[in-house]
Subunit: 234 residues, 2 copies
């Protein structure tokens, strides 16, 4: 049975890395001491080692050691045998490019569908959707495909941001961008605000956190769902 | 001799479409009544006809009629014979996808290098760079390549936006995104604020408009250039 936490962000304003979600992680990874970290999204271009160290620091506070997937000679085997998986945020193009080129997308999907506890934040959540096409990131590398894990039957827009009524900036709002996505695609999109996450247990997907989320369906007016809502048909 | 206006945006806050740049356009397209509009970026998903009509409305105020490239049976010939070319903004992925799939990137580049006056706004400016990889847009379609016209020897970031010191949002700032681009690429990037444009005459590229622009070079601290600066080596 699938068992994922799909979080909008690793960090909320005023908090430290993963701080706001640590109690949930302690529970989510409660049955394993063997969590593998996937550092490929490289936020700000940091190295795999640096990023793994940063994530490990946070996990140590709940008594877990992380090992970086990049340190394994056989990453496919490592994913299959992992007790838990965590994909951190950064640049979604860099992450998806690495996963496709290393042929890790299918093994990762298989582990998730077999029930390995998974945590994604930001780019690591984006890849839980059907495609990465509602990322906010810059296309700094050209991946072989935009297809992602399909662990949830919709796309994620992490760091969802409401339009600023006082803005004088003429660039597209996030809502406009997602509506442009729907001019070309029919996949539903869940806009997850920072501090929210989806708890996925099998096919039951529940919105968790203090904030509502915004649902975008092709040719429909976007609408809000409250925390605690089970997203069962989009 | 190349002859381009590469504008950050079509519209500045409080103004109508193209209004702020119409005096320059009147001069730029002064020698032709035959300007072709490339509507493929489809802002908000609007149709090619609708978008061409919107752009034509603005051009009529300087006594020019536009014809949409989509209305020609032989768009390659149309580009080669055009007296002027204007590519409007919208979604850069949609625009670049269309130009590659219709095999129009090379003809467009040839016309520009032969001196056909060109105007780009937003996505239409993004494609003047070496690649579209510093676009702000969502990857709503998968183009065959991110390579673009290379009409200027750097990349453009249109709608450049300074970090907001009061923001509580944890998504990456524009500057962070461009620095991530430079973790993977060495192409210089010019961040063009709304209301700025580049005037390209042969190899002389001048920043025009009231605002400064921000220059990003790999492994260097970003810096500002003032309006009027000739960008001659990056």
């Amino acid at each position: 049975m699938k068992n994922l936490l799909v979080a909008s962000t690793s960090t909320i304003h005023g908090g430290s890395y993963l701080e706001y979600i640590l109690p949930a992680l302690s529970d989510h990874f409660g049955n394993t001491d063997d969590v593998i970290f996937i550092p490929f999204a490289r936020p700000g271009g940091i190295s795999h080692d640096e990023y793994t160290e940063k994530a490990s620091d946070a996990f140590r506070s709940i008594g877990k050691e992380l090992r970086g997937l990049h340190t394994f000679t056989d990453p496919i085997k490592a994913i299959a045998e992992a007790g838990g998986l965590f994909t951190g945020g950064g640049n979604t193009f860099v992450l998806v490019n690495a996963l496709h080129r290393l042929e890790l997308m299918a093994p990762l999907r298989e582990a998730i569908f077999l029930g390995t506890p998974y945590l994604g934040t930001s780019a690591g959540s984006n890849i839980c959707g059907i495609s990465m096409q509602t990322t906010n990131d810059m296309p700094i590398v050209y991946p072989p495909s935009f297809k992602t894990l399909g662990a949830v039957p919709f796309n994620i827009n992490p760091h969802y941001l409401d339009p600023d009524p006082n803005s004088t900036h003429m660039g597209e709002t996030r809502e406009t961008r997602i509506m442009e996505f729907h001019s070309q695609n029919s996949i539903p999109v869940v806009g997850l605000r920072e501090g929210s996450w989806l708890d996925v247990k099998g096919d039951v997907i529940t919105l968790v956190g203090k904030l509502s989320a915004r649902i975008f369906l092709k040719d429909k007016t976007p609408y809000e769902i409250e925390s605690g809502t089970v997203i069962d048909s989009l």
